[in-house]
């Protein structure tokens, strides 16, 4: 058994949260630069220019890339030969999240659903984090993190299709979601698609798809081809950066596919804005 201390997890999470808020990761930056080169609309090109400038200011002056510093979402893989000492894993992740959001001058955005009361006093600063935990082989803990903004989450959708609708039905649904979203999720966007599994498996898969390095194809060549096809279809919509019209609406499409029940075909579309703030740390 390898021991990992609670305090080390808190510290690692705090650093991850603070760094991610101000440093747009290389994959997202590269995709934005490519979009800026390819864009045909002068208005959209100007927006992309602002986004690149924004990333530079955020990095060099350590200012949050966006005022919506998101809800903190984690996918954590815990090796089964690890023993955590001094406290619970979830508590450590929440504590690191709170410290990072406070010390980084990030926004506390969690609230009670109906009264809309901010929960920073009674639950914690931007708490609770959304934490997905998986037990895997090995003696390490791998923490993958994303700061997920509200605007792009608001346009995300899930639907259970009839099996007969097949791949064409999935394509039509994804197109419908992105077309309807238009300017609202801050395009150019990354589109995570979870296909199959059960209702919640599809949704979680679509979220996890967004944690992949932008533009890295699915290892299954058939799914990779499907991703490429969707990308081309979606860029025909003409939405463009910030919805002002243009050729570069979607930076990448990531699809995760799972076996499903003989009676159903669940699909979930989770949208990520251009400020794709994600990162990971291994302990």
């Amino acid at each position: 058994m390898r021991e990992i201390a609670y305090e080390d997890i808190v510290k690692a999470v705090k650093n991850l949260v603070m760094h991610t808020a101000t440093h747009l990761p290389e994959d997202a930056l590269k995709k934005l630069k490519e979009a800026h080169e390819k864009e045909k609309s002068p208005v959209a090109k100007k927006v992309l220019e602002q986004l690149l400038e924004n990333a530079e200011i955020a990095r060099s002056e350590e200012r949050p890339l966006c005022q919506d510093t998101g809800l903190a979402v984690y996918f954590i893989k815990v090796g089964q030969d690890v023993r955590i000492t001094g406290g619970l894993l979830k508590d450590a992740v929440n504590e690191g999240t709170e410290q990072g959001y406070k010390e980084g001058y990030l926004r506390a955005s969690t609230c009670e659903c109906f009264s809309r009361r901010n929960l920073k006093e009674e639950v914690g600063y931007n708490l609770p984090a959304v934490i997905h935990i998986d037990i895997v082989e090995g003696d390490k803990i791998e923490i993958e993190y994303a700061a997920k903004g509200g605007g792009s989450e608001n346009v995300s959708r899930a639907r259970v299709l009839a099996p007969a609708q097949g791949a064409e039905g999935v394509k039509a649904f994804v197109k419908e979601v992105i077309s309807e979203a238009g300017p609202n999720p801050c395009p150019p966007i990354i589109v995570g698609v979870g296909i199959g599994g059960t209702f919640e498996k599809a949704a979680i898969s679509s979220k996890y798809a967004l944690f992949r390095e932008a533009g890295t194809p699915n290892p299954d060549p058939e799914i990779a081809a499907f991703e490429q096809e969707l990308l081309e279809e979606l860029n025909k919509l003409g939405i463009g950066a910030m919805g002002m019209g243009g050729t570069q609406t979607v930076l990448a499409v990531h699809v995760e596919k799972n076996p499903c029940h003989i009676a159903s075909l669940p699909v979930s579309v989770n949208v990520q804005c251009h400020s794709s703030r994600h990162g990971h740390v291994t302990l």
Binding site: L51, R63, N154, G238, G243, M244
Partner: protein, 186 residues
């Protein structure tokens, strides 16, 4: 072809009349922040015939919930939030003199109609450019509803704040027109 304007608040009917969807405007002067919760309170005050915390005639409201300022700075990152959440309140404010709104994302028909009827415009700022836009805000002070935290009403002094006209006073919509221009039909 889109024009570029440099305007100072408060905005007049003449300012609004020259603006067309797609034009780029650099705004300077005083603007006010408000999100859903503050909008509800402003509209309630109007219904009761009570005075508002700021002069609405010619005003520009920025839909934003900034990050907390670092020590010594007026404001943190401050890009636009999604505007549709203000759709049910904006027409009343426009009717009472509001001339400009800054946000991101689609507005409903009632807002577009109010812009046309009472001469007002909806500007889009670049969502996710919070670090860049926050730097163009030179002063910020909370003037109402401090208990709302990021959603409090703030008076901001801005210099050359870049926005694009999305909905003008003539019924044009850049989101619809821009998209039509680049849409590829099979």
């Amino acid at each position: 072809m889109s024009e570029v304007y440099h305007l100072t608040t408060p905005l007049s009917d003449e300012d609004i009349e020259k603006l067309k969807a797609g034009d780029i405007v650099y705004l300077s002067g005083t603007i006010y922040t408000a999100r859903d919760a503050a909008h509800k309170r402003l509209v309630d005050l109007i219904a009761k015939g009570e005075p508002l915390p700021f002069e609405l005639k010619g005003a520009v409201i920025y839909f934003v919930g900034p990050t907390p300022p670092k020590p010594g700075e007026p404001i943190g990152s401050a890009g636009p939030t999604t505007s549709y959440r203000m759709d049910s309140y904006s027409p009343t404010l426009i009717e009472h003199g509001l001339k400009g709104m800054i946000g991101k994302g689609k507005r409903n028909q009632a807002v577009k109609d109010a812009c046309q009827k009472h001469k007002a415009v909806y500007f889009g700022a670049t969502g996710g450019a919070g670090a860049l836009l926050g730097k163009l805000i030179k002063e910020a002070k909370v003037i109402a509803y401090e208990e709302l935290g990021p959603e409090a009403v703030r008076e901001l002094k801005v210099e050359e704040f870049p926005v694009t006209v999305i909905n003008d006073a003539y019924g044009n919509d850049l989101y619809e027109e821009g998209r039509k221009q680049y849409e590829v039909k099979d």
